[in-house]
């Protein structure tokens, strides 16, 4: 500890910098004119550059929403692609301002890695992919099956837990990457492939005949994926938090990318809509933004449902159901805190 303090003092002396640079992320972002957003290097549907080099995806749209709310332009995002290994370092060292990288919120990450998690934007969970011809309808019938599983992941531990709880004998086939799993599964080296449900959907679209494979109904783990910012700047954390909440609330209130402009023009009958769209209440000022912050975010990327359907929903090759990610009133668990 002593050495680190000395080193820090020396560094501060040499570079004349202060740790205060961490505190006001909002000012930093405004000064730089762009939000540095940590995303995945490539994950189908969530974040990947398209053929013209422009990032698209579910996580990417949340980055753009934050940029639109803060800077007024969804394109003022500097994407910082990060791997699973260096994502938190990139955020904590200040190279990234905010992280949307299909990251599971856990206690150790929150407390030990010193992250502040934003509201969950995708409820994922571990699922199973199997051939339709196997005639298996439930994961409890998997006795004796060989299971492809990525080594060193939480999914490996989840699987062991699940199988032990249900007293099922199985034969693990360790693989390193999703690609390897796909090859092994397609070549018949394993009967079942298990990983996060969204990953399974992506894997399935890569198979030669996707309709010959089914995803079993069981989801055996909780993987709440959420954005995050580093500890120490509550105002910035609030901005991230309320942008996500605003997008979810917008869906609940029927505000879409198309109608947001006209609804925001003047105060309507619904005070919830008015507060969200800044025609009353002065909510934006509480997080250091102006009143039209949510209007800009929604007109940039649409509400939560629109983002979901655009990148990972039924009409995309991934074809994910809303499931848990439906609004609470539609049978899901998406329940955003009210803006008031």
């Amino acid at each position: 500890m002593k050495f680190r303090n000395t080193a820090a003092a020396a560094a501060a002396l040499i570079f004349g910098a202060t740790t205060a640079a961490h505190a006001a992320t909002l000012d930093d972002v405004k000064r730089k004119g762009e939000v540095a957003c940590v995303v995945s290097t490539s994950l189908a549907g969530f974040a990947a550059p398209d053929a013209s080099g422009r990032y698209t995806g579910f996580d990417v749209d949340f980055c753009r929403a934050v940029a639109a709310a803060v800077l007024g332009d969804p394109n003022k995002v500097k994407f910082v692609p990060a791997t699973t290994k260096n994502r938190f370092t990139v955020l904590n060292s200040g190279e990234g301002d905010i992280l949307f990288r299909n990251t599971t919120e856990t206690m150790s990450r929150d407390a030990d890695l010193k992250l502040s998690f934003l509201p969950v934007n995708y409820y994922d969970g571990q699922g199973f992919l199997i051939r339709k011809s196997a005639g298996i309808k439930s994961a409890t019938e998997l006795g004796g099956a060989s299971v492809c599983i990525q080594t060193g992941t939480t999914t490996e531990l989840n699987l062991a837990d699940f199988m032990r709880t249900n007293g099922i004998k199985y034969d693990p086939v360790p693989v390193e990457t999703n690609e390897e799993a796909l090859t092994n599964y397609e070549g018949g080296r394993c009967d079942v492939y298990t990983t996060d449900a969204s990953g399974i959907a992506a894997t399935r679209t890569g198979l030669d005949n996707p309709s010959a494979h089914v995803i079993l109904p069981e989801i055996i783990s909780k993987e709440p994926l959420a954005g995050a910012v580093r500890h120490g700047d509550d105002q910035w954390a609030d901005i991230g938090k309320w942008v996500v909440n605003a997008l979810i609330n917008a869906e609940e209130l029927g505000i879409t990318q198309r109608n947001v402009k006209s609804k925001a023009r003047k105060s309507g009958d619904n005070p919830k809509v008015n507060r969200l769209l800044g025609t009353e209440g002065g909510m934006g000022a509480m997080v250091g933004l102006d009143d039209k912050w949510a209007v800009r975010a929604i007109s940039a990327v649409g509400n939560y449902g629109e983002i979901f359907e655009r990148h990972i929903g039924k009409k995309t090759p991934l074809g994910l159901e809303r499931g848990l990610n439906a609004l609470w009133k539609d049978g899901g668990i998406l329940y955003a805190a009210p803006i008031r």
Partner: protein, 369 residues
């Protein structure tokens, strides 16, 4: 039947008997000389027969060159879906470099070849000026790619694809050779401080995997530096890659230096040459010549190691390929991507390797065994 008579010394040269020269003899000598050779030949023929038609079909005849997405590709043909590579070709080449400034990348690429010619071949007219230009090239290219001084600045996080590989590879190759030579000389220096420093540096570099160094460059440095200091990520990578390659280079060149008999240095001393003169004129030309295979080996290794930058979030061609595979309309075409990247690396590395053979032949002075 009598043979024609010739005066002594006037007998014309006759072609060799067909059993000793010509294609038939070659086949007999090389393919069918013994029962085991015959078996191997037949096995190879069978192998080629069973592999080549399928491969050609997949690569060319059944391949699909245009299409909207994977489904369209699969509907149009059984073979490779090159339409996918075609759509991502620009990303593979330029990474995220802004469209309107890509002429700068092209120009830098052309200038690179102009700089390479005087380095690689010694019968170029005005070679001296060419070499001056080649020495200035890294700075010209740096200015062209990064911008400033009249050009629109482009941040290095926009670099990617083949261009990134070339930037990292060429910089590493260009700077690791001189640094490696200095380290190798320093290692055999009589001055203790220099020797200890060089040995320590080389042993440290060789004891640590490149991936660790890159990781330190990308993440740990950020902790050591005060928040807010922005030390360009690509620059860190370039420094780490160069240092790494120079550590290995130093050992390759040390091998060459040790193969030079001490009589050579003693002769140089006897002629009254100073240390640097002796090194420059006598020892290094010989030592470098016999180190060529090792040096090129290190170059090729370095060039291929550039793919490791993906772990710190930079997109080399392989990274671009993986990102392309995450596009939901093309997902599942990994074979095409990996073959394309493999072809790119094979062509570059094979060219380097052939050049080194050419150089060895050119510098051959009768030491070859």
């Amino acid at each position: 039947m009598s043979a024609p008579q010739y005066a002594p010394g006037k007998h014309p040269d006759l072609p060799a008997p067909s059993t000793l020269a010509g294609p038939l003899a070659w086949v007999r000598a090389n393919l069918l000389s013994s029962p085991s050779n015959i078996t191997l030949t037949l096995l190879s023929l069978w192998f080629l027969w069973s592999v080549i038609p399928g491969a050609l079909n997949w690569f060319f005849f059944d391949a699909v060159y245009s299409g909207e997405n994977r489904a369209a590709c699969r509907a149009a043909g059984e073979g490779a879906c090159w339409a996918f590579i075609g759509e991502y070709l620009k990303l593979f080449t330029y990474g995220f470099y802004p469209e309107e400034s890509r002429w700068r990348v092209n120009l830098a690429f052309v200038l690179m070849w102009l700089a390479l010619v005087p380095i690689l071949f010694d019968r170029v007219p005005h070679r001296k000026y060419g070499l001056y230009y080649a020495a200035a090239f890294p700075f010209i290219a740096g200015w062209l790619l990064v911008g400033g001084l009249g050009l629109a600045p482009v941040t290095t996080d926009k670099f990617g694809g083949i261009m990134l590989t070339l930037v990292v590879g060429v910089t590493g190759i260009a700077f690791s050779l001189p640094i490696g030579i200095l380290l190798a000389l320093g290692r055999s220096s009589k001055l203790t401080i220099i020797r200890v420093f060089c040995v320590g540096f080389i042993e440290f570099i060789r004891g640590v995997p490149l991936i660790t160094l890159l990781f330190v460059a990308s993440t740990m440095l950020s902790y050591f530096l005060p928040p807010g200091t922005n030390f360009d990520l690509l620059l860190r990578v370039l420094i780490m890659v160069t240092l790494f390659a120079s550590g290995y280079m130093a050992e390759v060149i040390r091998g060459g230096l040790q193969a030079i008999p001490s009589g050579q240095t003693e002769a140089a001393d006897a002629l009254g040459l100073k240390y640097w003169q002796a090194m420059r004129l006598i020892v290094l030309p010989q030592a470098l010549k016999i180190s060529i295979p090792g040096i090129v080996n290190t170059f090729i290794g370095l060039y291929k190691d550039t793919t490791l930058v993906i772990i710190i979030g930079l997109y080399d061609p392989l990274g671009i390929g993986r990102a392309a595979l995450a596009n939901t309309s093309w997902i599942g075409l990994s074979t095409e991507v990996y073959i394309f990247v493999a072809i790119f690396f094979f062509v570059s590395c094979f060219a380097m390797s052939r050049y080194s053979l050419y150089l060895e032949d050119k510098l051959e002075t009768g030491h070859k065994r």
